[in-house]
């Protein structure tokens, strides 16, 4: 693992005599490799390493008797600093029903996550309505309906356009005295101006208390482009990173948080309805470092 590799580096460097400032460089290169392999963005890694280096020099790591451990500690601190502070919650706002939009690229896991989020809110004693506002993907409505039936949450699908569907869903939710409605939307590219405008209009019209960007946890360098664009056009309030039950290191988390500042609220860890966990920065920092 990374700690082991850094220990080997310092052991070898010390074998040549006293450590110096420039010996830090080799350790930094090793860390850079680990982070890029984990899919953290090039520019985010560069800035992170500059901070690590500055701290390492300031703390005179090269004089330490355990330089590897000390650098790892600094690195950890910097990672957790970026990944975010306390656990965030779901903000339902003041109106009833509170409205949550799930948005993101094609196949990122929005529909599945909508149902998972509904299930979680149910367990927190909320009355939930699921809204299928994806009018494009074949059988999208059916997919949400089947998931909703599993957890006994009503699924609203009536209407020809997303706007119609959401309007009808609000009336329906108010009749049902629902606390919150979770809106599943069509997967779209951040560079599809027309589709992004559609979301922008929906967001202005309905003023959801949460707009959650759902991103595939295995996403590579493109995570920055996706997050930046969505965050620029919409008032994104948080991020959900999915499919982290595989062995992807999830460096996209670092990139997205660094570039948008928006909190990662949950992670998806499987295909079952219970497979949604709160995001813990320290646990995730270990994961990224492998």
């Amino acid at each position: 693992n990374l700690t082991g590799r850094l220990q080997d580096i310092f052991r070898r460097l010390r074998g040549k005599g006293r450590l110096s400032e420039k010996d830090i460089e080799e350790a930094l290169r090793e860390i850079r490799q680990a982070l890029l392999e984990a899919d953290a963005h090039y520019k985010v890694v560069k800035e992170l390493l500059n901070n690590v280096k500055a701290k390492a020099l300031q703390e005179e790591v090269f004089r330490s008797v355990t330089p590897a451990e000390q650098i790892i500690k600094i690195l950890y601190y910097e990672l957790i600093n970026i990944l975010g502070g306390d656990r965030s919650n779901i903000n339902l706002g003041v109106r009833k029903p509170g409205i949550i939009f799930l948005v993101g690229l094609q196949g990122s896991g929005k529909t599945t996550t909508a149902a998972k989020l509904a299930y979680r809110l149910l367990q927190e004693q909320r009355r939930v309505v699921l809204v299928g506002a994806d009018t494009f993907r074949p059988a999208a409505g059916k997919q949400l309906k089947v998931l909703g039936e599993k957890i006994k949450v009503p699924v609203y699908l009536e209407g020809k356009t997303p706007q119609e569907i959401i309007e009808g869903a609000i009336k329906f939710s108010q009749e049902k005295l629902a606390d919150v409605m979770i809106v599943d939307t069509t997967g779209r590219l951040h560079i599809d101006d027309e589709m992004m405008k559609e979301l922008e209009d929906l967001s202005k019209r309905f003023e959801p208390s949460e707009i959650l960007l759902v991103v595939d946890g295995m996403t590579g360098q493109d995570a920055v482009n996706i997050a930046e664009k969505f965050n620029e056009i919409l008032p994104i309030t948080g991020v959900i990173l999915t499919k982290l039950d595989g062995d992807a290191r999830g460096g996209a988390a670092l990139s997205i948080k660094a570039v948008t500042g928006k909190p990662i609220k949950f992670i998806g860890v499987g295909e079952k309805i219970e497979d949604l966990e709160y995001f813990y920065p320290d646990r995730f920092a270990s994961r990224i470092l492998g």
Binding site: M218, D222, N225
Partner: protein, 274 residues
Amino acid sequence: IFSFSKIDDDLLDELEMELIQSDLGLELTNQLINEIKRQKITSTSELRDFMFNFFLSIFNGMNSQLNIIPEKINVFIYLGVNGTGKTSAVGKMAYYLKNMGYSPIIAAGDTFRAAAIDQIKLWGERVGVDVIAQKEGADPASVVYNAIEAAKARNKNILLVDTAGRMHTKSNLLEELKKIERVVEKTLGYKASENLIVVDATLGQNVIKQVETFRNAVDLTGVILTKLDGTAKGGVIFNIVKTFKIPVKFVSIGEDKDDFEPFDPKEFIESFLP
């Protein structure tokens, strides 16, 4: 990059950044940059040609033609992790093959995910290809068996099998794939002609682990690279082809039935270069 006036460290730093940001990965990026330095290239047009050839050589000897045995039923199996575009690829490829003069038929092999059968049936209707399905929760191997029988009865020569998305880290799900392969071989007397892993161009270095693991479970014959219409460059594909020698056969560049074309390495490299 190629508007720089000379090849110096600034340019090479910029180039390294562009390549890594294209998901080429650190190893191949370093290899290319080192070769550029070793060659002592002086002009940027020379640089572009050198890079082009570096990437093109990775595809040397790769045959991206489909394996289609004439006069027999050919089974193509589509597999990969969740959400990469498998079901859409099955629909688009059925359309492509039909236009090529073949008689495709589809097996709704994802019996697990909500509305997966509905989704592939709608694709079948859209492109005018029969879909053989059972109920949600059925054994995918049994659906494939039925589909082969239907192919024989209806005189179809290519059976496209959609499968459920699965994490390569779940061994029971890999076993399910192996079972599908065995049923094909047992029923037809020969193996599937194509095992196509559907890879999403927005995914990063983990794709390498995915290909490696799936390849250990089934004999992969090709890659379908999807979602190239986004901003992701799909650079991880160079590592995959170089390491595993699996050809890229098709690319998907959108959500319509005709956003699908045979892979052309030169075209791909042209749009990949900075």
